[in-house]
Amino acid sequence: MVDHDVALREVTKRFGDLAAVDGVSLDIERGQFLTLLGPSGCGKTTTLRMIGGFEFPDTGEIYLRGEPMGRRPPYRRDTSMVFQNYALFPHMDIAANIGYGLRERKVAKAEIARRVEGMLALVELPGLGGRRPKQLSGGQQQRVALARSLVIEPTVLLLDEPLGALDLKLRRQMQLELKRIQREVGITFIYVTHDQEEALTMSDRIAVMNRGRVEQYGSAEAIFERPATRFVADFMGASNILDAEVVDADAGSARIRVAGAALTVSEAGLRPGDRVALMVRPEKLRLTAATGPDGTMADGATGWDATVAARVYKGATMAYQLGLPGGHALVADVANAPGGARFEPDQPVRVALRPNDAVVIRG
């Protein structure tokens, strides 16, 4: 049995008529960096706040280390939250902010001072204990907020878009730092963001949420490479998603009709007549000038005849916008290799992809 720090069972939370969180179940293993990812209004923050005890589920239950939380308030939960706006106490200096939770736990003064110093070192702000929050930059305040939560050694650290207010460069730096700190302290982090790139960078596991439900829960790689639903694919930044229909299927592969062409894909469990979607990463598409009979190519790739609509130079790659029969469109990223082929707008091309590179989305 896996050691679960946090478990959600069919958790639902309504605000008026709106189900902000709708039947969510999640198991989060100890020591993991889990990200709740989704657009605004998807229920990710509400889920986080319910784990922290700031809201209570209407139905369902949340377990921390196997213990049902019920309507236990935040001050009686072993979680701690890093707030989006940092929520540092303006009337206390940095040391008092970080030591706040320890004082509440009746830790001796000398011990508080020692641990606050340790935390300032961990978040790389040594010697700033006497400053006021207003005297610190946004990034520094963020580190203080983190230290304030970590110093009480919670079972689970909850982070509500903590980097949202930082500029891009600082944000990148803090992402790596958060990851480093998480590895050092070894506790479970639950992180809320709407930024898929941030999620991919930091997370061990990602739960993509939409309209109060978890669309897909898995490793960062699985979410990115094999989105389970069209929403996930879309949200993870996929550009080529085409409606398709299964024409023929056997045990390990299937033939599907998409944009006027028949493709073979390595996908088990499909049945003729299934309506699905096909996702192709732009960098997986190959372009050739040759036009020939429709069908299988030398390496087993399948593909379409297309016309170059436009091209955009992107440094390492050239992005081609391609028009397919029936008004469909695809984007292909082709490496700018020395001596590699170049295609001009309006030029007819052949687009090909290997069966393993096409991802069939059933949801």
Partner: protein, 306 residues
């Protein structure tokens, strides 16, 4: 707004220099009016009366006729500063006003907190209005109403006479004075505290809960310190009118509830000793001004904001 004005002006001067600005008033009117009118009001209704009182305070009384005579005489101040009576009256005034102020804080804080933190913000406007509405009724009328409530066989006794141990004969006592003050000036305490509660960042309270503070600890460690500026403003705004009041102790007070306001009113109304009343008024004003200056110097309110 600034840019559009600028744009219009430059267009006007460039294309048609003779054209007037679109508004009829000359440009200096707005700044002069916006500074001048408040200054004029302050001078006319605060400074000038104070100057007159100051001038009177150096007049003397003619020994034969008892009439006030224009003079420059410091005897009124010598009298005020050397008399044990006025020192004791001042101390009693301070005690009464101070006790009323603390009582008002205890009453007003929960009300202001509930109003600012617990009530739906859309409904707060109406409730704030209800807090202010009593101010539209005369101070005297509201004070008189307490006579009917507090007196023997009055409303309080009718309503709560069955409660054992409850004092029902409060009229003409220090307690009645404090009740009267709290009722009459309560909005002055509620409003600034309400404002500071409303400005309180609710996420700070959540952060405190999150770090292990139960509600009452959160109140002591976060809410109270952060609403302190409102509390300080309320204390000052409430104390000052109590300090100068004379109607409340006169109507509700016991035989010993003598405040400086009563002594001053007597000098003007009964004793026909305007110069002495004026000197007492000036001394009271100076005490308030100097007291405030010291108070704000040591109670560094800005520090709370970091």
């Amino acid at each position: 707004m600034a840019t559009s004005t600028l744009g219009r002006r430059s267009a006007g001067t460039g294309a048609a220099p003779a054209r007037r600005p679109p508004r009829g008033l000359p440009g200096w009117v707005a700044p002069v009016a916006s500074i001048g009118v408040p200054v004029a009001v302050l001078v006319a209704f605060v400074l000038l009366p104070l100057v007159f009182v100051g001038v009177y305070s150096f007049y003397s009384l003619n020994e034969m006729s008892g009439l006030m005579q224009t003079d420059f005489w410091v005897g009124n101040y010598r009298e005020v500063l050397s008399s044990d009576i006025y020192r004791r009256v001042l101390w009693r005034t301070f005690q009464i006003a101070g006790a009323a102020t603390l009582l008002a804080l205890v009453v007003a804080y929960p009300m202001a907190y509930a109003l600012g933190a617990l009530v739906d913000p859309r409904r707060q406007g109406v409730l704030v209005l209800l807090v202010i509405v009593p101010f539209w009724t005369s101070y005297i009328v509201r004070t008189f109403s307490w006579i009917g409530i507090l007196q023997r066989d009055g409303f309080l006794q009718d309503a709560l006479g069955w409660v054992p141990g409850l004092p029902t004969d409060l009229l003409y006592s220090r307690a009645a004075v404090l009740i009267g003050f709290v009722h009459v000036f309560l909005p002055l305490m509620i409003l600034p505290i309400y404002a500071s509660v409303r400005n309180l960042d609710r996420r700070l309270l959540e952060a405190a809960h999150d770090l292990g503070s139960p509600p009452w600890r959160t109140f002591l460690r976060v809410t109270l310190p952060l609403t302190l500026p409102g509390v300080v403003a309320g204390l000052v705004l409430f104390f000052i009118p109590c300090f100068g009041s004379f109607v409340t102790p006169q109507l509700l007070g016991g035989t010993g509830d003598l405040m400086m306001g009563n002594v001053i009113a007597t000098q003007f109304g009964e004793a026909f000793n305007w110069p002495l009343g004026a000197a007492l008024s000036i001394v009271m004003t100076l005490i308030v001004v100097v007291g405030l200056a010291i108070f704000f110097r040591f109670a560094d309110v800005d520090q709370v904001y970091g």
